[in-house]
Amino acid sequence: MTQTESRTKGNRLEEHLPNSTPRPEGELKELERVWRPPSGWNYITVVNNTYIGVFYVGAAFLFFILAGILALVMRTQLAVPENDLIGQDLYNQLFTMHGTIMMFLFAVPAVEAMGVYLLPNMQAARDLPFPRLSAYAFWAYFVGGLVFFSSIFFGLSPKGGWFMYPPLTSYEFSPGINADFWLLGIGFIEISAIAGAIEIIVGVLRTRAPGQSLDKLPIYAWTMLIFAGMIVFAFPAVILATALLELERAFHWPFFVAEKGGSPLLWQHLFWFFGHPEVYIIFLPAAGFVSMIIPTVAQTPLVAYRLVVVALLATGFFSFGLWVHHMFTTGLPQLSLSFFSAASMAVSIPSGIQVFAWIATLAAGRIQLNTPALFVLGFMFTFVLGGLTGVMVAMVPFDWQVHDTYFVVAHFHYVLFGGMVFPLFAAFYYWIPTASARPLSERLGRWVFGLIFIGFNTAFFPMHITGLVGMPRRVYTYPAELGWDTLNMISTAGAFMIASGVLLFVVDLIRNFRPFTNKSPGNVWNAGTLEWLPSGNYQTRSIPIVTSREPLWDQPNLPEDVEAGRYFLPGAPTGGRETIVTSPVDARPQYVVQMPGPSWPTVLAAVFTAGCFLGLTVKLVVPAIISGLIAIVMVIWWLWETDPGPTAEEIDIGGGIRLPTYVTGPMSHSWWAMVVLILVGGTLFTTLIFSYFFLWTVNPGAWPPDGVELPSLGWSALAAGLYASSSGVIWLASALLKRRERKGPWWGLRLLLMAAVPLMAGGLAVDFNGHWQTGLRPEEHSYGAVVYTVMSVQGVYVATLTLMAFYTVARSLAGMLDGVHRVTFDNTMLFWHYMTAQGLVGLAIIHFFPRLIG
């Protein structure tokens, strides 16, 4: 169908709804059956986003409460000077855990979880495109997070601060497994964040209501798209950093040890290259909540929608240019201080745009001062104040004074608590009517807001002064004679007031939150977006055509028509779970994707992934390996059902639109997910190459260090040739497979795949052997450490691809792979070509760069 045809069809559809009523008998029953969550013990295998999303938000909120309790213990210790309530060891564990849990186990998962819950509803998709991936990410995070938290009860919690600067956190100054627990906790959130990012990017771009083009996308979906994009480019830096630190701790590869050519500053660059975007990763979705709630409470569309979208994109972009402002006191050159100071100030402009857009929207409408509105106003008050102190700390001379003092503690609580927790509470009060049979109490909600808002400002406003009079962060005690005691006492009182507000919120939840009932009080705030359509486990009965940013305000009779099944796909024609995949920009229906349902292997894979990481942390290597192998088997088992091939010829979704049930290549959602994963891999590799060059700048004139020879160029050429030829074989297999179309399984494909594996592994082996023969070892110098790390990363890809090659062959043997039914093969092929590209770039840099400078 050409674009013009589709447009005329669209216009016609607006006048005549795509499906006629009454709907055939049994259609709704079938839809309900297909999407019903399993019962009994199998209940925990549920994958529907409305269930996993709620579990996920609940778990994140649990970690918020737990980390909050840790903060209360700290505030009690600091209430009076020279307190001996708790000692330095516990205190140092407490502040490390408080920061780590709040950032990694609460803030990021909470906003991601809200996305899992809200996005399909807001886009009228039946679910996110990879439901089992969401379930896996949740379970791995939940199990891993609980184990990580319980380390505090055994005195085994990390105590190096949430930023974990080496050398303090490396093997010499932090023996014992406390620091490894930090790496464990972070490992889970890395997995679930990346999984979530892939899910959300593909979900926002490909599973929208027909007609919901990018210029009609709710701002919240925009923020989540940018959020996920930022995770793709920011998280690899921390994944690499944690991997390097664990390599240093476990095998003494000296990345951060100054005497062996390493640099403690390498960690700081990698950590903050992730850590600063991280702040906006948390804030942007929260700003998205606000941009959804304000139009509803003011009953008018958002003013300057386009400018707000530009502001969000600009924030995402700028936030990658600021990381050095966490390092103003490390003795950097004036020029880089100036650059990063300017960039740090510039990032406040997009936030200013949003704040004024919200004010303008409030002025355009007429606000109803309900609980979500109160939390949003509380957010604006707090966040603007935090933003202004943020501009102050971006000033280099001012930062030299207040860096690492309570002023900074006050600043980032204003932007994080103010910028994320207030909007989150607003979001809870606002969206719970879509998830629960009853809304939360407006009366209690006002008290919750009052206690938290006053408590927050009582706790954190005085800290600005505490910091200015010289109190540093992360101290478990302070002398009486310095005059810090009154301010600290006030802060402690405020902290307990916040806690009482949160407690009252929990009471409200217990009294009123009744999820999973398929009952809803309806569109209680008279909102305009699709998540307020009547819905069940299958989301909306039929998938509407959207012609406005606020369809419920502008498209008369929409809820009734959707509920009656007059729009697209009112049943479950393939007999399984399915939703419409749309084109990324203008949301034209492209095909119907068949989605997998509940599955035990997904949950077990998550549990055994957690077991593997935990085993490694407590040095139980054999159980860890067994656990890891089981996890891999479980992942393969779960994947086996996820490439079903074309089960029906074409499906009529209504209005004369017939869609295929299976596509391959760049139109496939699976292809998009693989491309995002490759972007993650590419970013990881780029940060590794950055580390290589950074370590070179630390060792100028000694790269490689004296006594180290480079392998001859012949070896590297051979390795490059092997990588390239393995990709060539895969390319050939693809071309031949395409020509066979639906002729059934084919032995030639299996043979070619099996031939490509040794070529690829040979490339790695040749490269490794070349370095090993020269006597280069990873433990002696940062040069060797980084060279072996480049090869190790390549090794992880080679191992993964070997597994994928065998899996692909197995699919062929099972008769589930041919010239059309080939998504599994395509994924293997894409990943393979990426592996080759990375291998070639790595070889070129490691073998040519030292020769170039030497």
């Binding site: 400018l307 490390t330 001379p397």
Partner: protein, 286 residues
């Protein structure tokens, strides 16, 4: 800066209030995309450009204060400060710990590094902080205008006793400083009474010299602070306690209680009389 920040804050809060409470027909001007442009783009660009220029101007001044009159090397260690005064040719004139005396009105250059983990050198009333990083020497120059005692503290979390890693900067008239400096160059006072002599013997006999140096005796350890003139310093334990006979005795007997996890063991084996003798000896090392 604080005034400017407060003004902007009040402006935003006031506009929000207008958007909520002023009657709708009188706030229509605010419900406009042009307000978003003016408030969200034009205003911050103007304010921030001015602020940035001012900040860089100030920073430049702080980074280039002129030729130093004195250079002092400070090494951060878990959880104390090793201080080396350098002579004109860069050699070490004398070594001390946890207390830095400087002449007023003269630019002093501080060369900062670390022996173990990252620390940060910070005397708030005199200058901003600068990190002490293993394998790297950071330096900056500042001066004190008035004589006095200025407290400083480690500002980068450095492990168990980060909280008790303080120091004092004592700014003095130049002549008084010279007198002090030449006294520091000299070896320690010799004990003059029986108690002090026995204190010195106990100090050596208990192996204190394995970690500490007292110039003029056989104690030449380099692991812990140089104690040659410890009695003349304001504090012990890196700003933990004031220096007097009682605190010295308490420190030696129960180090691990007063500052848990420091590398010095508690000498709980010493009897009261022995402790008093050692404390008296240390106090006499002015």
């Amino acid at each position: 800066m604080f005034t400017g920040g407060a003004l902007i804050f009040v402006l935003v809060v006031a506009l929000t209030a207008v958007a909520i409470v002023v009657p709708q027909e009188r706030r229509r001007w605010l419900a406009d995309g042009r307000i978003v442009m003016a408030g969200g783009i034009a205003l911050p660009v103007l304010v921030l450009s001015a602020l940035l220029g001012y900040g860089l101007f100030v920073a430049r001044g702080q980074l280039n204060p002129g030729e130093p009159a004195l250079r002092i090397e400070v090494v951060g260690e878990q959880w104390w400060w090793r201080v080396r005064y350098l002579d004109g040719s860069g050699g070490v004139r004398f070594v001390t710990a946890n207390e830095i005396r400087i002449p007023i009105d003269q630019p002093i250059e501080f060369l900062l590094t670390s022996a173990d983990v990252i620390h940060s050198f910070w005397a708030p009333s005199l200058a901003g902080k600068l990190d002490m990083i293993p394998g790297k020497v950071n330096s900056y120059t500042f001066s004190a205008d008035k004589p006095g005692v200025y407290r400083g503290q480690c500002a980068e979390y450095c492990g168990a006793q980060h909280a008790l890693m303080a120091f004092y900067v004592v700014a003095m008239e130049p002549e008084a400083f010279e007198t002090w400096a030449s006294h520091q160059t000299a070896p320690s006072e010799q004990p003059v009474t029986d108690e002090l002599r026995s204190g010195q013997e106990l100090f050596i006999a208990n192996g204190c010299g394995a970690c500490h140096t007292v110039r003029g005796t056989s104690a030449r350890g380099e692991i812990g602070p140089d104690l040659t003139h410890v009695g003349g310093r304001l504090s012990i334990g890196a700003g933990t306690l004031p220096t007097n006979k009682g605190t010295l005795a308490g420190w030696v007997a129960s180090t691990q209680h007063l500052k848990p996890e420091v590398f010095m063991p508690s000498f709980g084996n010493l009897e009261g009389k022995e402790l008093r003798a050692i404390a008296a000896y240390l106090e006499s090392l002015e």
